[in-house]
Symmetry: C2
Subunit: 500 residues, 2 copies
């Protein structure tokens, strides 16, 4: 094999894989957005077929030989190529341990599970979903065991979304976060609650869509390359490369704030993905490095930027224009307090910044115990409800508002939830670094986020998957990760909103 030819083959292999991923992502996107409800089996069959094709392509002897050859000539490759070869070889070796029929039927299971989850959630019927969830957890346990039988299965799951993460570091992180949050909640419970009535009323869907597009432009998304659709549970996906990104939202006619922050959150994901250096398109380095870093960006835009006083003031004239009757006699500062109201609640995606990580901890605890064999799937609803009472002090009325609320497990995303809390904490520390170079408040107040985006692009986005999460964190932070920044950020926010 000739080195230059092999380097070209490396690129064309990734190009072909990107085309398959494009098709699979679009099929999945379609399933969550426009597809008629009776079409899940039809889609599952095609996805299973195409997954089989990409599996064969990616793990085939030809690909393996190419990658092994390039791995042996590593010194002659540039840094991105080295990283591509490393990641692809790692994935192949992991995939090779999974028998092809198991891999394919797992993909098919996921597509069906999502449809069943939708129905189960609608009917608040966990028993409908339980057999699928059992199979998903069992498959993941088997995959973990194939990958490394000496490792805890749950550590395998955590690692998929954050290279290097394990149960011990997660436990330590959550302990620290919890001990920071509990006193804040106690303080808030002792003072009068803020009034959030500004968010409720009648907000026509077409006006909410106009708001969504305005917000997308405001945070700096290029609408020629980022689309907006509606779905049950909002998500973001890249189609083929970072040149085609889709975000989704869910409108509630009686509350415009839900979709508003959903759009800013998913918009943060899209900013990160579309900020990859163009040279990384159609390679495995395109897009974000890990789920935690991804969530650090989405939640940075949603919370740190989006729930700041400056942001609320900056967008308020637009809200007045779109909802003149509902905003009559209201003020930007009322909005600021309303969107920062802290109150233990049922739904994670609607939770405030302070209680949010407690929602994550419930899921983390349950996953950890399921994978340690200490908890059965059938016992999940009861245990979910018990933990919500213990951590958040609230009663869960039904599974729709409890264990069935998130789509993650139905999509096979196990070990993903801690990313949200880690992302929150990373974001707070990023902010403190960013402030030394950018006047963040002034940028937000002016409605021109380009300086903020430029900093994120330069430090985080453009690198795609070039570095490991730990390497990237080290570069950005110039020191160790410390959740204290997050606790300090929350403490300051609570003081500003509640005066305590």
């Amino acid at each position: 094999m000739d080195l230059n030819e092999a380097r070209k083959s490396l690129m064309s292999l990734q190009r072909k894989m990107a085309a398959y991923e494009h098709a699979l992502s679009l099929l999945s996107f379609d399933g969550s957005t426009g597809a008629p409800r009776g079409t899940a089996d039809n889609r599952a069959a095609s996805m299973s077929m195409l997954s089989e094709e990409i599996y064969t392509l990616a793990t085939g002897e030809k690909s393996l030989k190419l990658l092994e050859y390039l791995d042996g000539r590593s010194a002659d490759l540039d840094l991105p190529e080295q990283r591509m070869v490393h990641l692809m070889l790692r994935d192949i070796r992991e995939m090779q341990k999974i028998p092809m029929d198991e891999y394919v039927s797992y993909q098919e299971l996921l597509v069906k599970s999502e449809a069943v989850w939708h129905e189960a959630k609608e009917k608040s019927d966990f028993a409908l979903f339980a057999p699928y969830l059992k199979k998903i957890f069992e498959s993941q346990k088997r995959f973990a065991n194939y990958a490394d039988p000496s490792k805890k299965p749950y550590d395998y799951c955590l690692n998929k979304y954050e290279e290097g993460l394990n149960t011990e570091s997660c436990d330590a992180f959550f302990d620290k976060v919890r001990s920071g949050i509990v006193p804040l909640l106690k303080k808030i419970s002792e003072v009068p609650q803020v009034d959030d009535s500004i968010r409720f009323g009648h907000f026509p869907l077409d006006k909410q869509e106009e708001l969504a597009l305005y917000l997308m432009r405001t945070i700096g998304l290029d609408l020629d390359h980022v689309g907006l659709s509606t779905t049950e549970h909002p998500f973001t996906t890249s189609l083929g490369s970072h040149f085609d990104e889709r975000i989704t939202t869910h409108y509630f006619e009686n509350d415009f704030v839900c979709s508003m922050y959903s759009v800013v959150h998913e918009g943060g994901h899209a900013l990160y993905d579309t900020g990859s250096d163009d040279s990384l398109a159609y390679t495995v380095l395109d897009g974000g490095v890990s789920m935690s870093i991804h969530e650090s960006q989405s939640r940075f835009y949603e919370n740190i930027i989006g729930r700041s006083r400056e942001f609320c003031r900056m967008i308020f004239p637009k809200l007045r224009e779109l909802f003149p009757e509902e905003m009559e006699g209201r003020s930007a500062d009322e909005l600021y307090r309303a969107v920062n109201k802290v109150e233990p609640s049922l739904i994670r995606t609607e939770a405030d910044e302070v209680t949010y990580s407690l929602h994550v901890m419930v899921r983390y605890e349950l996953e950890k115990r399921i994978f340690a064999g200490e908890l059965e799937v059938n016992d999940l609803p009861a245990e979910w409800n018990r933990l919500y009472k213990e951590y958040l002090g609230i009663d869960v009325p039904d599974d729709k508002h409890g264990v069935l609320q998130d789509t993650h497990w139905a999509s096979g995303l196990v070990g993903y939830f801690p990313s949200y809390a880690l992302g929150n904490a990373y974001g707070a520390q990023f902010l403190s670094r960013m402030r030394s170079a950018v006047d963040v408040d002034a940028a937000v107040a002016s409605g021109d986020l380009s300086a903020v985006n430029a900093w994120n692009r330069e430090n985080i986005w453009k690198h795609g998957h070039l570095y490991t999460p730990a390497q990237l964190l080290g570069r950005v932070l110039g020191g160790d990760f410390d959740p204290q920044y997050y606790i300090d950020y929350l403490t300051a926010k609570v003081r500003d909103v509640y005066g305590v």
Copy 2:
């Protein structure tokens, strides 16, 4: 090779091809519906890659050997298998004549062309689109020449949409239709024009969408398997199999009739596709047999059913409910006359039943002369405008309302247009057959089309692509095709609406 194994391989090969087709159709559907405008290149690259994969799969030695083996054992196959082998071999042999790089770059050209056509139409700038259109026509001429250098290239194009059709039979058909239509138009021009003001006003898009869904249910579509989206130029597509069908429409806020009949038209396509026998799913026999038969169904529902007095009366209460202010003081009979107003106009898709085929004839003439080398692409706009003056007596103000109005050429659909006129004529003759078994008027009046649909399913839909168009026509008509039924149908309609 063992016969039973080969039969199984035949099914799994088709299953795999259906998965690729699913992906490609969805990518194309996405490009015409939700995709952000700057993503065409990204999509084109993935589609080109996947087209290359399906080309390799379909024309590969393994597939060819399998099909040739089965072709040799034809007597041992059942009828559907014989037809599958015949169609697949025919396609492979035709595809094999096209060099792979040409095939792939043609697919890529089409994706880009559609995006450019959108822009060109918006700007009414034919020069923008012309270089792409030239390439498309040149590619088709080359493909025709590869397929059969002894045949007229345009006959190759016609044959793609209607097996057995050629320029001579088309000329004869159009001559007969034209000589039937011209006297009708003359008669209409001598009496007062009908009042169609009922269709104009203010019709909110969400109410029009509700109407669209109502119409879909009314004509008998299963909304669990048929989706509705919006697009520039409405179309229908199957995704993977007839179990997932998508129709599209385009709403105009000031005129509800456009989208209404677009939905019924596309709904007719969807009825035909989803009416395939389930055993044909994931085979090349799934869906309709030819474009003309397809159009016979879409235009049957749009015109013969949808523009009947019974249909207008049946749906009128729904219109009153959705548009109470605009329908105040209006009647179902006013609607009936309005939707049957005959008037030469600019846009084919909005043309009335009588002038419709004249629009088709313009395109047929132009295509025929382009392919005979008698006309250059650059001269198309002028020639288009000249023919509109000659056939329809009207002046074309700009290319947006002229030569750029249809998406067909941008999608590589050359030789397709005659299908619309043939479909009209087939439909009229089918109606006369259907009336001997079904009380069509009573069914439509009652709002329950199941007897009509059952006749179409039994005679046409369920067979998918099992017979050639000629065989199917022979079975349904029990005799020769005769355009006189169509002329008689139009004559009766004109008499009923205009009293002449």
